[in-house]
Subunit: 348 residues, 2 copies
């Protein structure tokens, strides 16, 4: 696999990106080459600093950078020579198989969608983010590519994320739930109720290529055996950030309590193995990045605060998606499912 | 204040309800009387068991109980002699000032809304739930009374929750945010963008009786000085449950890590004060209950898993709302604000 890396994207760019690339080239067997896209001089310095050289790495100069504050679509239109745009262009032109950016998420979504376009049969791309779960991981989709969605889009998200789970993580029959405000069949808002109806209809017709569990709620994210949870990008984004914020606040407040006495601090010292292990389980760096599923090419979006471990893990996901032919499988699965009744394709 | 307590509501009823009532009668100065509503024989036994007697407590017999699985509106229509219905009736008839239930939330919302009706000027009632925050507490409204909402409803939620914060907790100028998928002004789904526009318009006209902070996101719930966050009941419910689930999972997984070695267990023992203190901060029992704001009467909804501390604290909130005339203040605040442009009152 050949990867285009937006080396200027993210809060700690380009250092973490270049270091993450070095780790990936060292460890990932199927990674042929990484194109580091960004300011040539800065990237050259960074490569020298971490001893990254050779024919499996190439710097592609891009003089502009998309900032975290810019509007996504505007950035794509106006900064054609940004590291992000040029990195996506490498996939568009066929020079690379995958693109990774830890930069402005909205811009990464816009650039990937506009330049790579959608896979055949895909109505709407979405971001699939992994959360740790009692039984492994739960993929929440969409966590923010498109704030508004239609019922048909959520069915598409379910198919795409289920294909990811099946072909990349080897789960024979992925379990999929629809996020709602309760597990009962009657629960939901107008939109989620309509979506549930569509899922049930397709299920009745034997068209769903996964096991559909119906409505799920917040607690199920962690406690139920659940591979995929679908929701619109607004709810998914609120959910994801609430989850991150709660875990962060819990840690912070526990730390504050610990600092209040010497006895507690001694206790925490004895417990440091437990803290370290839990931190690793919960850390987004271990996941690394979230695939933007549905675009014609592998596009991975990493957290703005991604460190080199996160960049490495995000590249690992790109490699996995490419090697396991996730995109061709998505096209097949959607073609097998056939058309979705037009009435579920109306704007909200 | 006189309180009607749905003594059969909740997973541990009637024991926790009766014990919570006893604690409240012992400690709350302005609580004149509690009517325990439910199965007379069971309640009499429970009162005897915990030594609750005297003229400040009275058992009102109600032979039916609304279960947790029933549809809210159906339960109100069909079980007219349920403990929940009879408790709400006591407020409707003027015998009580407030009602509290730890039973089926949907049924408590339906019974309160149908029987008590809305306060003058209120378009839609909503549940305001407190989350602990770096600066005190953040009231999230609506956490599930009505899954769908209009822009005008969210303005109403903001006014009602701001009045609660101002008159019950003494914060002169409550800070209110609109939940979104990012803090930038351009962020949101179609509904939240329309709502933001309405807030900005009313702000420009000097009509908002609080400080409006614009869009807020998950992290702000805990980290920003924020008294109120408004959102529709679907998003609010997903947010609240995700938050509870994350904290619960974090604790559970940390406990599991601790059990893995004797050293870690010894450390945890030294740290038990820290754990206890954090648990208290995070526990929903300390808040006790969430007011259903907007109905004509004080109606408090407690968690199904409420223990006696939670019931006590929920009664404390009812007393606070009554003593501080929160409902009359809500009516005044809405009247002062005047009409909301009709175009923001359309169904989604």
């Amino acid at each position: 696999m050949k990867l285009a890396l937006d080396a200027m994207g993210g809060d700690f760019a380009p250092a973490t990106n270049v270091e993450g690339a070095r780790l990936a080239l060292e460890r990932l067997a199927n990674l042929e080459k990484i194109y580091l896209v960004g300011d040539e001089a800065a990237l050259k310095r960074q490569c020298d600093a971490c001893g990254l050289s050779g024919s499996h790495v190439e710097i592609i100069h891009a003089p502009e950078v998309v900032t975290m504050e810019e509007s996504g679509l505007m950035a794509v239109r106006q900064k054609k020579r940004s590291s992000m745009s040029v990195a996506v262009d490498l996939v568009k032109e066929g020079a690379c198989d995958a693109v990774l950016s830890a930069g402005n998420t909205g811009a990464a979504v816009a650039a990937s969608t506009v330049k790579l376009r959608l896979l055949p049969g895909v109505r709407r791309a979405g971001i699939a983010t992994q959360l740790p779960n009692e039984y492994g991981v739960c993929n929440v989709m969409d966590t923010g590519a498109n704030p508004d969605a239609r019922a048909s889009h959520l069915v598409g998200y379910a198919v795409m994320a289920a294909v990811l789970v099946q072909y990349m993580y080897g789960k024979a029959e992925p379990k999929v739930g629809l996020m709602s405000n309760g597990t009962e069949e009657c629960k939901g808002n107008d939109f989620s109720k309509e979506t549930l109806k569509l899922f049930r209809q397709l299920e009745g017709d034997g068209k769903l290529p996964f096991h559909f569990l119906g409505n799920v709620e917040g607690h199920d994210l962690f406690e139920k055996e659940l591979d995929v949870v679908v929701t619109d990008g607004f709810t998914g984004n609120v959910l994801l950030k609430t989850c991150e914020a709660t875990a962060k606040t819990f840690s912070k407040w526990l730390k504050r309590e610990i600092m209040k006495s010497y006895v507690r601090r001694a206790g925490a010292l004895l417990m440091q193995g437990a803290f370290r292990s839990l931190k690793k389980t919960l850390s987004a760096d271990q996941t690394g990045g979230s695939p933007l599923l549905g675009v014609n090419g592998v596009s991975i979006i990493a957290h703005g605060r991604a460190n080199s471990t996160a960049i490495f893990n995000a590249i690992r996901i790109a490699e996995g998606m490419h090697e396991n032919s996730v995109n061709p499988r998505i096209v097949e699965a959607l073609a097998d499912m056939g058309n979705i009744p037009a009435e579920y394709d109306l704007p909200r």
